[in-house]
């Protein structure tokens, strides 16, 4: 009983210690520069197509649905832009990108590190005299924290473009009306808030996945469990962090 009660505390302690060890060796990142660049490409650049696709559709669907809800002659069409753009910046671009990357990036990291653990590749790194945490975890978490805001900006731009395009070609409102509406209620804090979210989500996804993968036990089944848990728990923590950030900063 006591073990079950202590388990979350132990997990949190283990997670904190792993990250502390990773970031205490941040001066070694130069040694693992190639690995760091490689992770930035894998986590960031390689994710652009799926992020672009999802954000374009999100922006388009949001525009269509907003237009549907405001279908009255008393409200000017430009209000659609005033609603869609902040919604993308404040919520959708970061959260949808977060969910997609929890699956794409989080699952991949957990599976990769988990396989390295069960096939003794992590032991081999340590046995050679390398700091496996510096080599494996630090580049991934840093790459996530750095590249996720880049993906967020891309998601915002592509999502808004999707909204403009569907508004124009769907006959809901002109591009000019959309952008006028966006400018009318634009707050510089909105994209800043989205960037804070994206950094937080990037950290959550990569750190949770690294933790799950690094401490994988039990062979192929263990790798499968680690992969699933990394994706699911990242999504849960994203939702919790989303609410906390909204309550603290808005």
């Amino acid at each position: 009983m006591l073990d079950r009660l202590l388990s979350p505390v132990q997990t949190l302690g283990k997670f904190a210690l792993l990250l502390a060890r990773a970031f205490s060796s941040i001066d070694e990142i130069g040694t693992y520069w190639k690995n760091f660049i490689d992770q930035m490409v894998r986590i960031g650049i390689d994710s652009i197509p799926i992020v672009a696709l999802s954000s374009a559709f999100s922006g388009a669907v949001l525009t269509v649905q907003t237009a549907y809800q405001l279908e009255t002659s008393f409200i000017p069409n430009s209000i659609i832009g005033s609603i869609v753009v902040p919604s993308m910046m404040l919520e959708l671009a970061a959260v949808i990108t977060g969910f997609i990357l929890a699956g794409r990036v989080g699952a991949r990291i957990a599976a990769e590190l988990g396989t390295m653990r069960v096939s003794e590749q992590i032991d081999a790194l340590e046995a050679m005299g390398l700091n496996s945490i510096s080599y494996l975890i630090l580049p991934r978490v840093l790459a996530g924290v750095i590249m996720f805001p880049v993906l967020y900006v891309a998601a915002c731009l592509i999502g808004i473009s999707g909204g403009v395009a569907i508004g124009h070609f769907g006959g809901f409102l002109s591009a000019q009306e959309f952008l006028d509406g966006a400018r009318q209620f634009f707050k510089p804090f909105d994209p800043f808030f989205g960037l804070i979210k994206s950094v937080t989500f990037g950290f959550i996804i990569t750190a949770v996945a690294c933790y799950k993968g690094y401490f994988t036990t039990g062979g192929a089944e263990g790798v499968g469990d680690a992969t699933t848990e990394a994706a699911v728990q990242s999504c849960v923590f994203i939702l919790i962090a989303d609410l906390i950030l909204a309550m603290l900063l808005l």
Partner: protein, 258 residues
């Protein structure tokens, strides 16, 4: 020299090692033998600090691994080459990149010198032409030989082999045994071979340490193995000979009435 003093290790309720003490002399090849699950690999991981003992100590060249910082431990580990049971090759890299990996981080070499050393190591394990291949394109025996090439790349003082011949056919096993013997002689390294393959032990080792019931049950030279009156060791050796097809060791054949 590696010294193991009063080593205890357990996982949960399971005692894996109890009061294990022995030393590994410079230049010798020591085989650690015992049944599956007897703690051989656990013991090997203690020799390089991958596992920490619950009690007791492991010293390498007079330095107690339990008292050094992580940075010092990493420094000590560069004196070792380790061949893991499955090879533990990095599957995202080619064979040549795997062998070059420790050189990239720990050797003060130019790119050309690294390439030359990689070629030399792969040639030493008779796999000069597999450099561009990924581990997934290699057979089990070839993977172990590439892993061996990686283990010797930095010219270590100590090489640890974890079940180097397990899962291999007899011919490939002989090739690996031959390599271990050649490396021990040519590079004058101290070797520790974890195995339950008595044929390997008799071929490559100078001494053997037999683990049984979580303890170091017997230790001696390979010549003494067959002369030992110890019934537990005798049963292990006989079972092993029976397994590899030595008819004289088959219990029923030996008990045939005259």
């Amino acid at each position: 020299m590696i010294q193991v003093d009063g080593l205890y290790k357990s996982f949960g309720d399971l005692d894996v090692l109890r009061d294990v003490s022995f030393e590994i002399r410079d230049g010798e090849t020591l085989a650690i033998i015992g049944r599956s699950g007897s703690g051989k690999s656990v013991l090997m991981k203690h020799l390089i600090g991958l596992l920490q003992p619950d009690r007791g100590r492991v010293s390498v060249d007079g330095v107690d691994l339990g008292t050094v910082s992580y940075e010092e431990l990493r420094q000590i580990r560069t004196r070792f080459g380790v061949l893991f049971q499955g090879g533990a090759l990095f599957d995202s890299m080619t064979s040549a990149e795997n062998v070059a990996f420790p050189l990239t981080y720990f050797a003060d070499m130019t790119g050309e010198e690294v390439q030359n050393r990689v070629d030399e190591c792969l040639h030493l394990v008779n796999l000069a032409d597999v450099g561009p291949k990924k581990p997934s394109e290699l057979s089990g025996g070839m993977r172990k030989r590439v892993a061996l090439a990686r283990a010797i790349a930095l010219e270590p003082r100590y090489i640890l082999y974890d079940e180097p011949t397990s899962g291999l056919d007899p011919e490939t096993s002989n090739t690996i045994d031959e390599l271990i013997r050649t490396l021990a002689q040519e590079m004058n390294v101290t070797s520790v071979v974890v195995t339950h393959d008595m044929h390997s032990v008799l071929t490559i080792a100078d001494r053997a340490a037999f683990l049984h019931d979580s303890r170091l049950h017997w230790m001696g030279t390979v010549e003494e193995i067959h002369q030992s009156p110890d019934p537990v060791l005798d049963a292990f050796v006989k079972a092993n000979e029976y397994h590899v097809g030595n008819p004289s060791a088959i219990p029923s054949a030996r008990s045939t009435p005259e």
